[in-house]
Symmetry: C2
Subunit: 352 residues, 2 copies
């Protein structure tokens, strides 16, 4: 028996490209609006209150694992609160997504962006308390995944002020003010690395870095303006903690995702999993890649699509089953349960 | 001197992968809001009125070519009005994008979608009149490009009713009602093919088929649910009219774009042009692929990025320079002029 049973879990084995007894599965947003118990809670408490209540955040985190039978827990939290101690005024409206009241627009604005130091981590203490509570209440064989937004995605939010289709403001900033961009990214790198290390200290076993918006970039621009900073974050995390680097919206960036330095490359559904795996080479695990919309179709279709993905990973260790993005709110819970069950009955040793 | 001087244009030569004297360039939305004269016109006339006035639409089409010195004209029109004679109630609000008041939601709704017959084309006569007027007023060496939305993108609009981020409703329809989807796509295929053939009869020299939203699909889903219908449209167009099949948002679909049957594959900026060209093989021309946001940066940056693209196409005939998507409203006109000039001074014969 290992001192830390989660180290022997199929999730950790897959992240390290070791053979597994069964294919591990977890789902982005597995604790979310598609669950009736989550919706009930949200009727009483706002999203931000949930994120800031360690007890509730931990409860949601743990309950989703119990309900679904998945192989990993992911901390219930949001990508953006890290921007608050950096000086941004973040608001969550009732219907609209998060809005930053003082977005960064001019190169001089970067001067007022505060890099998070050790002493500033107290402002995010509710996250670390949620980690400790969730870890204490999870079964010992279930790893807990911590996470943060990657520097590009956080910078894009800070510049746009809200979600965007074209990320026009962000790109104009990057192209027009390369020196200010570098300064902004360096402050984000240091802040994200401290935030993630504090999550690790509080008790997470793995990290997912979300670059949800980097898919808007050309490969050359990603390489020049983003890759060095994403690498810098990962380089500051302990080697024994698996890092999943997730990016959505551009399969042409997958080879660059592999250069970031994480053990696992997280891909969306826009790419054939076999092609993605070929693109990242032998020395990385892969996570993905079911289209979340598939889970809204019939049970038969869900299982057919899951089989298609699993068949493409046969005979090669290092696949963590997941969606290519978060569970959609209209997803039937029964389909999620059927998917988890199907993935767990798949024989990962069977050769192609 | 050819009977039709446009047949000897660099645009038509590039589309047919013949050597050119200079690299042809045109820009998606080259007649758009970034032009002060267009904004002046729009202060007096709504977008839909512009589209429906053959005189104004032709004038905008022709003036953009004169103003920019580009190598092709693209008809000023919108993707969606074809849905009106098919039974959809299309509205353009003042700020919001187009909205369909009676979106298609249930499989039975497909029954009421009308396939456009020859006799129904009168409802779109303003488009064909604009083609005739624009052709009559363009220099004889400038080809005029007609266009339509591809069946998937039109179907997605008909189902969502407005623009969407996840295309959740569309995918649920595709996955849950494959038979109704087939019926819907067949009606769209016949309608789009008739619409495009009527544009060709009215005087366009090339066609661009816009699949602006198909990038949301996994390659397997594109192949199964979309490719046969896109192929069916192109197969009904005369072989001597070059077809550009444009798709944005998913570089993993580029090899499938080449299977559609058009002479030219139009790509966005998310992919390295050399990689895209390798993916489509030797028997297709390629169009693209500057990020429109680059045009909002400094003139030096614009030219540096244009050079990077041109260097990747050296020594291989068949490149039409374009953006990876439409010109952004905030683009400085001078940057567009500098780009056109730079591309025209590039020596396409110079070997790598």
């Amino acid at each position: 028996m290992a001192a830390f049973p989660w180290e022997e879990s199929n999730f950790m084995k897959a992240a390290r490209r070791q053979p597994v007894e069964r294919v591990p599965i977890w789902l982005m947003r597995q604790a979310g609006r598609y669950l009736p118990e989550y919706r009930q809670l949200r009727e009483k408490v706002s999203f931000l209150e949930l994120c800031r209540s360690p007890e509730l955040a931990a409860e949601i985190t743990v309950n989703a694992v119990a309900r679904l039978g998945v192989d990993a827990a992911i901390l219930f939290a949001d990508l953006l609160p890290i921007l608050e101690p950096m000086g941004f005024d973040l608001r969550f409206g009732p219907d609209e997504g998060p809005v930053i009241r003082n977005p960064l627009r001019l190169p001089d604005d970067v001067e007022s962006v505060r890099e998070i130091q050790e002493k500033d981590l107290g402002a995010l203490d509710y996250v670390f308390r949620a980690v400790r509570l969730a870890r204490a209440n999870l079964p010992a064989e279930i790893p807990l995944i911590g996470f943060a937004g990657a520097p590009f995605t956080l910078a894009a939010y800070a510049i746009e002020g809200r979600t965007s289709r074209s990320f026009e403001r962000t790109k104009r900033f990057v192209f027009a003010y390369p020196q200010a961009w570098r300064e902004l990214m360096e402050r984000l790198v240091a802040s994200v690395a401290r935030y993630l290390n504090a999550q690790i200290d509080a008790g997470v076993q793995a990290i997912q870095l979300f670059d949800s918006w980097a898919g808007c970039l050309a490969p050359d621009h990603y390489r020049q303006f983003v890759l060095p900073y994403t690498q810098a974050v990962v380089s500051q995390l302990p080697r024994n903690v698996p890092v999943i680097y997730f990016l959505t919206g551009n399969p042409a960036l997958i080879p660059l995702q592999a250069e970031v330095g994480g053990q696992v490359v997280g891909v969306d559904w826009r790419v054939d999993l076999a092609d993605a795996w070929a693109a990242i080479g032998e020395d990385h695990a892969i996570q993905g890649n079911l289209d979340p919309a598939v889970l809204c179709a019939s049970r038969e279709f869900v299982l057919e699509e899951a089989r298609r993905i699993l068949e493409r990973t046969r005979g090669r260790p290092g696949h963590i089953f997941n969606l290519g993005h978060g569970v959609l709110p209209s997803t039937p819970v029964d389909n999620v349960l059927a998917l988890v069950d199907f993935v767990h009955t798949w024989d990962p040793q069977q050769m192609p």
